[in-house]
Point group: C2
Chain length 223, copies 2
């Protein structure tokens, strides 16, 4: 078991570091020089460096010449930027999906995620709700045939992940949001392209408003 998918050290480093960042184990502002990271990952600087370059391209870290890698904080401005783009792109992706008249089978993952969101909301399990929400959006993306769009939106999800998890408990129960997901799924199934786009857009706009107002109310300048 040494070749198979050819898991290179660079890939391993990338995945591990990305995970550490998204799970907030390497919090925003955290900084470490290459040799230290290499030591922690048990490999030489070379693959670490290459992984860091990719993480920088993904918008998760910043490489500062003599200071090492720094986990980027996400400011309210960043969130505004991210949601502005998501608001423009995700409805497009959903509309495209509706246009392609997917089979019920293809939408099974979406339906399942929706069920889980509703169940999680019912028992007030915010953690599970967030997981299902993430799954919903990512599955929607995966169904889209526009690879570039999927990649871009996926990257933005990653950048916003921490903030969403943190604000999860600072907001009202996502009743409305859950309902909207169900509604969007319906419209996709019905192949109603324009309505899908519109509803999804409203969904994102509302989410952005809520999130930004939380960041403002709680004075969270960078997460």
């Amino acid at each position: 078991m040494k070749q198979g998918a050819t898991v290179t050290r660079v890939d391993d480093a990338y995945e591990r570091l990305k995970d550490e960042i998204l799970q907030n184990r390497m919090p925003p502002g955290f900084q470490a020089p290459e040799p230290e990271i290499a030591l922690r990952l048990g490999m030489s600087r070379t693959p670490v460096r290459e992984a860091l370059i990719r993480l920088e391209a993904s918008g998760l870290i910043e490489l500062i010449p003599r200071r090492g890698a720094r986990v980027l904080p996400v400011s309210p401005t960043d969130m505004r930027e991210i949601y502005e783009i998501l608001t423009a792109l995700e409805p497009e992706a959903a509309a495209g999906l509706a246009r392609s008249r997917p089979t019920a089978e293809m939408l099974a993952g979406l339906a399942e995620a929706t069920d889980e969101m509703e169940a999680a909301l019912e028992r007030n399990d915010l953690e599970a709700w967030a997981v299902a929400d993430d799954a919903y959006h990512r599955r929607l993306l995966a169904l889209n045939e526009n690879r570039r769009l999927s990649a871009i939106v996926g990257s933005l999800f990653d950048q916003a992940h921490r903030v969403r998890m943190i604000t999860l408990r600072l907001r009202a129960p996502p009743t409305e949001s859950t309902r909207e997901h169900r509604e969007i799924l319906h419209h996709i199934q019905a192949g109603n392209v324009e309505v899908t786009r519109t509803v999804f857009r409203h969904h994102r706009e509302r989410a952005a408003r809520e999130l930004l107002s939380i960041l403002e109310n709680y004075r969270l300048p960078g997460l």
Copy 2:
């Protein structure tokens, strides 16, 4: 003059290779192993490798395990993807700009580019027209305060650059396109957010239609 902007070899390699690709001197499908590229750039493999990783993240090349770096061809499907995203994002950027009520001074670059497009069209100088068109779109982006959006759209421009240059001569004179640019500029100046968005969207949709039909008519499967 050795520090200043600290031009690292990685940056140099990245810029040079990107330029070679965009100018079609390294045509799509072109393939070369790292040592060869390193030799050509007069540096060791290490900085070349790092530059290649960034170029891959930019969507310009593909790194194939034992074959080296390959300049990615852009297929009609790719162009459809790219224009789909641009159609969603650029109107947003333009609308945002209109909303911010920019001063005439800030729009000077746009106005200038528009003038140049009209002048170039007048004297049938397609090359100059393309340059002005590119300048128009990039300046519009630069005025946008959403950095991420600018970066994404800029990257897509780069990916589409070659195809646009090649199809330039295969299409009818861009009379309509030039007019639309002028119109969009007017609406931005007038601060008419919604109209800006709509007109820009039509602009992109028309451009996409024209371009894709050219690719189809001339049977250009990958450029």
